[in-house]
Each structure stands twice: as structure tokens, then as C-alpha cells.
């Protein structure tokens, strides 16, 4: 049997209610209960090993290098929680069967409930920090679903949101804390973490990690000042309150404290934060509980108070306190879950939870009343019940702790005070509801619930009694094992008997009892006193806070995103400025050690020309035609620059792209305004100039620094293997079609996609076509000059021949698919310019989309072809052949690949230009729209 099954069974069980809903409500509940019951039996079957002090572990590697694994552990603590989660979960399933009404979707409820159960079991059995956190968040989400189960109620939605926000935020803090711990310890493995307490406590980041983890624990366990979400979560159906908000989820924070007790506790900081938070929560919860008229509200604040008590115990510096904490976890779960269930029964059968209306129910439901009174007595700490035992231990430990130095005497006093309140509100729960006269206009006449609805309460109350009378016999082994896990081995001597003789803790109990009864007797004075304080609704405060947060966020958002692309551009540029300028300032010398190249007059002239035409483009950018002409001068000089610095392939490419680009921009200009209006304010121009100048300066500096430093290139490999491995002497081309062929395949695909996108954009464009130029002069009538038509027509075969030549020689001399494709495109575009679209249409029946598709396909298939020879994708092949008259020649698969490149380039370029050109003719592709 495997540990994996313990969380896995409930996980699968999530589906059970959904699948079995159609068989009726009882069957649905039964099927839902099966898998958790099996999981519980499995946990129980490990009892001998766990009681013998073993820790079971099982893990499954996922990404071992990153410390990610699915890993589970079962020790005493995990086992105790598993039993609580699965055991009480089963009782809640039975209870909810009778609690939910016909209108409620039982399957949905059970599915959420079991999902929550899985998450809880996942937390307590996790053996990996990240895994623990994952399940932790899953409890937040599933509890959100459960609290908002009655999502037609506004308070349920608000309560659920609040719970999710608070516990979710705490979860993020916990994540940060866990990551920090993993960073300090060097592992996500919980076993490793638990073994390295000293490393952790001595580390400088310990306080940060501690506070973050505590934030996670305190938000989950509703500790002051994060306690406010718990009462609002009471909008959930009562089975959820009984399960999540008393027995399990709110104990997850406590579990976390207990789990990390061996490694995080033992320092002043721990004792101070944990004990003071616990003490504050204990007192506050107990005091407020007294004034709640809502039955569940009283229980909620009482839960907060008891959670504070457990936290306080974990924050005391004695080992026995930790044992007492564990013991109280068990006791609180049993009596509080049964009280919630009893409250649910009362609500269900009388229609109200208001204690001002609920009176004298003893007469109507004596059975339920008895059960509730026993549980409430346990909550108050009456002897012979389990609440008494752990409260005695708690009182005893408050006397032994010294966490607050000379102020430590305050702790037992305040603890007794909290005990007084606890007795008072427990008495109120019993007396107000079951006695105290007659009920006041209840919606229903109260009566006993269905028989089976009482069974879970009976079981829990019986447990309260048994635990109270035979504690060592019932729970001794489990408590030992769990305490051993919390204290990392050494469990101190303790005795679980009812009678310890006349001692101080007993006196404190007596004081609490007497005080509580006196307070309850005089409650009216206390209520009057309390009524003077204005009641703050945590919900309103919370919503206001959230609103404030949202407003702030949207202000920030509006500042950055005001809808102006110019602004985004500027922010982006400023950001890149900030990123690049910093490192450059650390660079001491701009110039490197590499010797500079000499410069001659021609080169200086070209550089000056380049700079002047670039500046002219900027200066005349509002006269668009002029700017376009100067822009093309820049492009020409750039291609000459490539030629000068030993890059003939680049020069050829740049030159032909230049031609195509200028034709494209001129076509575009035909449809766009000829001039840019003057609308930038001088201030903005200066600002933009400044940004541009600084960026230009930075880029130039980086470029200079780069060029003057020696180069250690990987290109020697390409130079050495180009001929032998790729079969070509033009290394640039061999890199394109062979070494980095996969990149090129990607590039031509992008090119094809861009062209198709453009085609789509053009297809339905309705453009205003000017009848004349910017001065109002009409266009010339003869649209295709005869000379141009004649010359370009006779040049066409020549140009095509050149492109074939460039294509064929590309593997060994400057050229190749890209350049040949561009040359072909230029030649064809020239025909369009000279003759017009109609003339070409009749003569050139070429579908450019097919051309693109076939180009990409050919290239891809060439790559796939190498699979036929059991080689990796795009492995090239080449060989030399002899033919009579022609002589020796080379055939290479790269040639076929280059053909694909060629076809794609031709197709893409012409698809763009021809379609755009078509818009200028009378046969515009807008006609299909009128159909």
C-alpha cells in the first residue's frame, strides 16, 4: 500500500458525487463517503509504524534538478490531522445529507467538500515545501467555493471574497517564506528542512522567513488582527462551518506552526510574536463571543478564541505546552464541530439562529439539547469532559512559561480571564437557547431533526466524554506520536489523568467557572456597557479597503496607459535608456584594444552623405515625398557600406529590398496624406529630440566599444566546415541553408505569414483615392509611358536570367535564394509599374499565395527528407556528378531548400505589392463587398 493513495483517493472521490447524483440523495452521500472512508482505513493501517516512532515517506521525482518532486510523508502529526480531516469529513458528509434542502445541488456541494478534503490531506502529508504551498492555496480556493455555495446571497459572496483575499494574501506571504527557507536550507525537501533548524535560526534572513511564514499561518487560522474574515465566512452552510471553520481549515495555520515548530521555534522572536498574537486572539475572541446574538457568530468568535489559545500554547517556551497544544487541537475539533452541527440542527428545525428569539428549546428537542449542552460544557472546560483536560494543561503551562520575562505573571491572569469569558459564553449558549422562557416568534415550531442527522453529533459528543474520562486510553498513543513529530523526538513526561490534586491550575479553573457564571448572571449590565461602543462592520471596512486599493491601482494604470501610443513608446524608450545607461557608466574606457581600420576620402564622403540624408529625412519628414527620397539615399549608402566591408550578399539583399521598399512606400503614400500636419508642440519636439539623442549616443557608444574590442567568434567552425560539411564555398549561404537551416525555415514561414496578413488587411480596405496630387493637379492620362513599357519588357528575360544565375551560384558565390527571389520580384514589379495590373493579370497567371505555400512546403519537405535516411531534421546532402558537355557539377539538397526560400520570397513580395497596386486601378478588390 502506498502513501500516494491517501490524498489520491479523495481526489478521485471528487468525481463520485457528480457521477452518483442521479441515484438519489442517500446514494450520493454513500458513494461520496466510500473513498474517504477507504483513505481513513489506510491511514489507520499505518498506526503500528507511526506509534513506534517511524516516519513514512514516499516520493516520486518530477524535475529532480530543480528539487521538484511529488513527495509524501506520514508522521504522528500528519496522522493526527489525517484522522481529524477524514474522520470529521465523513461525519459532515452524513450530516450534510440531511442538512441540505432539495433546492441545493448536493453533488456540487459534496464535490467541493471532497476537493477541500483532498487539499487538507495534501497539506498535512506534503513532504515538499512547494507541494505544501500548492495544497495550501487549494484549500483557500475550495473554501471560497464552499463559503459561496449559496451564491445567491450577497453576504455569502462577500464573505467568500473576504476569506479568499485574506487567506490568499497570507498564502502569498507563505510562499515567499517557504522559498526563503528553501533558499537558506538549499532544499525543498521537508525532511531536509526539518533537520536543519540550527542553520535556519542562525541565518540573517531568519526573521524575514519567520514573519512571512507566520503571516501565512495567522491569516489562515484567523489570528488577530486577521481574525475578521472568520465570522463572515459563517455565511456558508453549517456543515461547511463545522468542517472548515472549526475542525480543519482554520487548523491548517496551527498545523503549519506545529510542522515548523522544530526548525522555526526556540528563538525570542518566535515566542514573542506567537505568544502575544495568541494571547490577544484568545482574549478578543472570548470577549466578543459573549455579545454575539447569532448562534454561529458566537461559535465563530469562540473558535477564534480557541485558535488563539492553541497559538499561545505553541508560542510558550516549554515542551509540555506543545503537547497541550496538540491535545487541544483534538479536543477543540470534537466539541466545536459537534456544537456547529447542533447549531445547524437548531437553525434547520426552528428557522432562526438569533439567541434573542431562541429560548426554551429543551421542551421541543431534548435529545439535541442534551448533546449540545454536553459539548458546550466541554467548551467551557467542565470536568469529566475533554475540554477540561486540555484547559487544565493550558493553565498549568501558563504558570511555567517565562516568555515575557518579569511580566510573565500576566499570562496566567489573562488566561484565567479568557477562561471566565469562555464559561460565560458557553453558559449563554446553553441557558439562552434551551431554557430562559419560551421561544419568541420563530418561523417554525421547533422539533427534533431526522434520526440520522443526530448521529454525527452523537459520535462527536461521545468522543468528548470518552476523551474526558479515559484520555490516555483513547488518545494517548496518537498524542505521543504527534508530539514526538512536533518536538522532533523528545516527548516530555506528562500525565493525562483527570485528577492532579489541589493545585493552582485547578484553582484557576474554579475561578473561571465562578467568574463566568457571575458574568453571565449580570450580563445585562455588560450588554448595556458594550452597547455604548459603535459597532464596526468588518465587511464595510474591508470593502472600503479593497475599493481604495482598486482605485489606487487604476490610477497607476491610467497614468501608464492613457491610450496614447506615443506615450507608451516614450515610456518604453526611457525604460531601455535606464537599463542601458547604467552599465555603460561602469565601463571605464570606451575604446578597446583592437587596431582601428584606416579611413579614406571616399568613405568619409559616404558617411557624410549618409548622415546628411538621415538628418534631411528628419528635417523634411512632414513633406513625405521628399523624406522618402532622402530615406532611399540612406538605404543605398547602407548597401554600399555592406559591400565595402566584405559582405557582398548583404549588399545585394539590401539593394533589392531597398527598391521594393521604396516602391511599397510610394504606393502607400498615394493613399495617405502627402504632408504631415504640424502638431507637435516645441516642447514635445525638444523632449523627443533629447530622448532620441541620448539613445543614439548610447547605441553609438556601445557600437564603438563593441567594434574596438577583439572578437572571439564561433565562425571558425563555419569557415572550416562549409566546404566539407555543407558543400559550398559561400559561407553565408551555407549558414543560411545548412548550418542554421532551421532558423531560415522559421524566417520564411514568418515572411509568408506576414504577407498573408497583409493580403487580409488589404482585402476589405475602403480607401479614399485622391483624384490629383497635393496641389490639386489631376493625374496624367497616359498611365503607362511607352518607353518604360518597352524597356522593362525587354529587360524582363534578362532580369530573370540574372536571378536564375544568382540563384544557382549562390552556394559558392554571393547570391542565393533570398537575393534571387528579390531580384525576380523587382523584375516582375517593374512590369506592374510599366504596364499596370490589368495587363499583367492577363499574362501572368501566378497565384502568389500558392507560391508562398509551396515555397514553405518545399523547404520543410527537404528538411523532412533527411528523416528517410535516418538523419536529424534538415541534414543536408551533396555530391558531385559528371555530365558530357556540361562537365562536373554539384547537386545538393540545400539547393532544394534554397528553392523553397526563393519561391517564398517571390510570393510574399509580389503578394504584398501586387495587391496594394491593384487598389490604385479601377478594378479594386472592394467589389466583392457590394455583392
Amino acid at each position: 500500500m502506498s502513501l500516494f493513495w491517501i490524498p489520491l483517493l479523495p481526489l478521485i472521490g471528487t468525481l463520485a458525487p457528480l457521477l452518483s447524483e442521479r441515484f438519489g440523495r442517500s446514494a450520493c452521500a454513500l458513494f461520496t463517503a466510500i473513498l474517504p472512508a477507504v483513505a481513513l482505513a489506510m491511514v489507520m493501517s499505518f498506526t503500528p509504524q507511526i506509534f513506534a516512532g517511524e516516519t513514512l515517506q514516499q516520493s516520486f521525482s518530477w524535475i529532480p534538478a530543480m528539487g521538484l518532486e511529488l513527495s509524501f510523508r506520514l508522521d504522528g502529526l500528519a496522522m493526527l490531522f489525517c484522522i481529524l480531516i477524514l474522520g470529521i469529513g465523513l461525519l459532515v458528509i452524513l450530516y450534510a445529507r440531511y442538512y441540505l434542502s432539495q433546492q441545493d445541488s448536493m453533488a456540487r456541494f459534496y464535490a467541493y467538500l471532497i476537493l477541500f478534503m483532498t487539499a487538507m490531506v495534501g497539506i498535512v502529508t506534503a513532504n515538499n515545501l512547494l507541494q505544501l504551498w500548492l495544497f495550501w492555496e487549494l484549500t483557500s480556493i475550495s473554501s471560497f467555493l464552499l463559503i459561496s455555495f449559496w451564491n445567491h446571497k450577497s453576504e455569502a459572496r462577500k464573505g467568500a471574497r473576504m476569506a479568499l483575499t485574506v487567506t490568499g494574501a497570507g498564502g502569498l506571504a507563505l510562499l515567499a517564506g517557504l522559498l526563503l527557507i528553501a533558499d537558506i536550507v538549499g532544499s525543498y525537501d521537508l525532511s531536509v528542512v526539518l533537520a536543519s533548524g540550527d542553520t535556519l535560526r542562525d541565518h540573517a534572513a531568519y526573521p524575514v522567513a519567520l514573519v512571512l511564514v507566520l503571516l501565512g499561518a495567522f491569516t489562515k487560522s484567523a489570528q488577530f488582527p486577521f481574525h475578521f474574515w472568520l465570522p463572515h465566512a459563517m455565511a456558508a452552510p453549517t456543515p461547511v462551518s463545522a468542517y472548515l471553520h472549526s475542525a480543519t481549515m482554520v487548523k491548517a495555520g496551527i498545523f503549519l506552526l506545529a510542522r515548523f515548530y522544530p526548525v522555526l521555534s526556540g528563538t525570542e522572536l518566535w515566542f514573542l510574536i506567537v505568544s502575544l498574537t495568541g494571547l490577544a486572539t484568545l482574549l478578543l475572541g472570548a470577549y466578543i463571543a459573549l455579545f454575539k446574538h447569532d448562534l454561529k457568530g458566537l461559535l465563530a468568535y469562540s473558535t477564534i478564541s480557541h485558535l488563539g489559545l492553541i497559538t499561545l500554547l505553541l508560542g510558550m517556551d516549554t515542551e509540555l505546552a506543545a503537547v497541550a497544544a496538540i491535545f487541544h487541537i483534538i479536543n477543540h475539533a470534537t466539541f466545536k464541530a459537534s456544537l456547529f452541527m447542533a447549531a445547524g440542527i437548531i437553525d434547520h428545525e426552528s428557522g432562526s439562529r438569533d439567541m434573542r428569539k431562541l429560548n426554551g428549546l429543551w421542551k421541543y428537542m431534548p435529545h439535541t439539547a442534551t448533546l449540545a449542552m454536553v459539548a458546550a460544557a466541554s467548551m467551557a472546560g467542565v470536568p469529566l469532559l475533554n475540554g477540561f483536560l486540555s484547559k487544565e494543561m493550558f493553565f498549568a503551562e501558563t504558570l511555567h512559561q517565562v516568555a515575557l520575562g518579569s511580566l510573565s505573571w500576566m499570562v496566567p491572569v489573562l488566561a484565567t480571564l479568557a477562561g471566565v469569558f469562555a464559561v460565560a459564553y458557553s453558559t449563554r449558549f446553553i441557558h439562552d437557547v434551551f431554557f430562559n422562557g419560551e421561544p419568541i416568534d420563530l418561523p417554525k415550531t421547533p422539533h427534533e431533526p431526522p434520526r440520522y442527522m443526530k448521529i454525527p453529533v452523537e459520535i462527536l459528543v461521545t468522543l468528548c466524554l470518552l476523551l474526558g474520562i479515559f484520555p490516555a486510553y483513547i488518545v494517548g498513543g496518537l498524542l505521543d506520536a504527534a508530539s514526538a513529530a512536533v518536538l522532533a523526538g523528545s516527548v516530555p513526561e506528562y500525565s493525562l489523568s483527570i485528577w492532579h490534586g489541589f493545585n493552582l491550575p485547578l484553582l484557576m479553573s474554579v475561578i473561571a467557572m465562578a467568574g463566568g457564571l457571575i458574568i453571565y448572571y449580570n450580563r445585562r449590565h455588560l450588554y448595556q456597557f458594550q452597547a455604548q461602543f459603535p459597532e464596526t462592520d468588518a465587511k464595510l471596512v474591508f470593502e472600503r479597503l479593497i475599493q481604495w486599493l482598486v482605485d489606487g491601482a487604476s490610477r497607476v494604470h491610467k497614468f501608464f496607459e492613457n491610450g496614447s501610443l506615443q506615450r507608451y513608446m516614450m515610456l518604453l524608450l526611457l525604460f531601455s535608456l535606464a537599463l542601458t545607461a547604467g552599465p555603460l557608466m561602469d565601463l571605464n574606457t570606451t575604446a578597446g584594444l583592437r587596431p582601428h581600420l584606416p579611413i579614406n576620402g571616399v568613405e568619409i564622403t559616404a558617411a557624410v552623405l549618409l548622415c546628411l540624408s538621415a538628418l534631411a529625412t528628419v528635417i523634411w519628414h512632414r513633406k513625405r515625398m521628399v523624406a522618402l527620397l532622402t530615406l532611399s539615399v540612406v538605404g543605398l549608402i547602407v548597401s554600399i557600406t555592406f559591400a565595402r566591408f566584405s559582405a557582398p550578399d548583404l549588399a545585394l539583399t539590401q539593394l533589392s529590398v531597398e527598391v521594393v521598399t521604396v516602391i511599397l512606400l510610394m504606393l502607400a503614400l498615394f493613399f495617405l496624406p502627402q504632408k504631415t500636419p504640424k502638431e507637435s508642440s516645441p516642447r514635445r519636439i525638444v523632449r523627443d529630440m533629447g530622448i532620441a539623442a541620448i539613445l543614439g549616443g548610447i547605441i553609438g557608444t556601445i557600437n564603438y566599444a563593441l567594434m574596438t574590442r577583439p572578437l572571439h567568434s564561433i565562425s571558425d567552425f563555419f569557415l572550416a566546415n562549409s566546404k566539407t560539411g555543407g558543400g559550398g564555398t559561400n559561407v553565408v549561404n551555407v549558414i543560411l541553408v545548412d548550418f542554421r537551416g532551421f532558423d531560415t525555415l522559421g524566417e520564411i514561414t514568418v515572411l509568408g505569414i506576414a504577407a498573408l496578413g497583409i493580403y487580409k488587411l488589404i482585402a476589405r480596405m475602403r480607401l479614399y483615392m485622391p483624384a490629383g496630387d497635393e496641389h490639386g493637379r489631376p493625374w496624367a492620362r497616359d498611365r503607362h509611358p511607352l518607353m518604360l513599357a518597352m524597356i522593362s519588357q525587354s529587360l524582363l528575360p534578362l532580369a530573370l536570367l540574372v536571378s536564375v544565375y544568382i540563384f544557382l551560384r549562390g552556394h559558392n558565390l554571393p547570391g542565393g535564394g533570398f537575393i534571387a527571389g528579390l531580384v525576380t520580384s523587382v523584375a516582375l514589379v517593374q512590369q506592374y509599374v510599366a504596364h499596370g495590373v490589368d495587363w499583367i493579370k492577363a499574362r501572368l497567371k501566378l497565384d502568389y499565395q500558392w507560391l508562398i505555400a509551396s515555397g514553405v512546403l518545399i523547404a520543410a519537405l527537404t528538411g523532412l527528407g533527411s528523416w528517410a535516411f535516418d538523419r536529424p531534421f534538415l541534414t543536408s546532402w551533396f555530391d558531385y556528378f559528371e555530365l558530357p558537355w556540361i562537365g562536373k557539377f554539384e547537386l545538393a539538397s540545400a539547393m532544394l531548400f534554397d528553392l523553397g526560400v526563393y519561391l517564398t520570397v517571390v510570393g510574399a513580395t509580389l503578394l504584398i505589392l501586387a495587391n496594394l497596386g491593384k487598389l490604385t486601378t479601377n478594378h479594386r478588390p472592394t467589389q466583392p463587398e457590394s455583392e
Binding site: 496614447s564 506615443q566 513608446m569 524608450l573 583592437r594 582601428h596 568613405e603 558617411a607 548622415c611 538621415a614 538628418l615 529625412t617 528628419v618 519628414h621 530615406l631 538605404g635 566591408f645 566584405s646 559582405a647 548583404l650 539590401q654 521598399t661 511599397l664 502607400a668 503614400l669 495617405l672 496624406p673 504631415t676 500636419p677 504640424k678 502638431e679 530622448i691 532620441a692 543614439g696 549616443g697 547605441i699 553609438g700 557600437n703 567594434m707 572578437l711 567568434s713 565562425s715 569557415l719 566546404k723 564555398t729 559561407v731 553565408v732 549558414i735 543560411l736 532558423d743 531560415t744 515572411l751 506576414a754 504577407a755 496578413g757 488589404i762 480596405m765 480607401l767 479614399y768 513580395t909
Partner: protein, 121 residues
Amino acid sequence: MEAVYAVCVGLLTFSGVFLCLRGRTFPVVMGLTLLSYAVNLFLFSSGRLKFDGATILGTSFSYADPLPQALVLTAIVIGFAMTAFIVILAMRARADLGNDHVDGRLPPAPEAKPRRKKEHA
């Protein structure tokens, strides 16, 4: 030589960035073109400048770095596709929105009004 080259790249960047910050689409397209010249020259120069070293095996004793050349070659072609896409997008925006401002709406400046009239005349 390197200093002059770097000045040219810097100046092209300056011109490109300034035009990219303009409010109308066509200057932005021109700015992008200038920027891509600058970027291509920059990338190309990462193989260091070299005279008479074309990467055709058997033609020289020391060769220029072929890798940046191959990268820049595809960059030029892709750059063309990008320019084309943006220019068509700009035309489409003008066709659908009735103006050629990059934000898709005219700024509330007083001189913008008469211009718009002229456009639709």
C-alpha cells in the same frame, strides 16, 4: 573608421527614434526603416569591420565573420516584411478610422480641425 561607423549608427538611431515618436503613421514607418538600418549595421558590425575579406572560401587569407552576415541577411528580408505590414496597417487604420494618427484619433489640437476637412473634401 570604427569611430565614423559608430557615429553613423548613432545618428541613424537618433533619426529613427525621433521619427518613431511622431504622431502620424507615415513618419513612424520611416522612423522604423531608419531604425532597422541602424540595427542591421549594428548587428553586422558585431563581426567587426573588415576590408576585402568576403566569405567566399578560397578568395582571401582572412575572412570576415560570416555569422552576423547570415543573421543580418534574414533580418533585412524580415525587416521588409515588417515595414510592409506596418505600412498596410497604417493604411487600413486610415481607411477605417478616417485619420492617420498613431492613436487612431486626432489630438484635440486647434490646427487639426481644418486639415481634416481638407482630407474629406
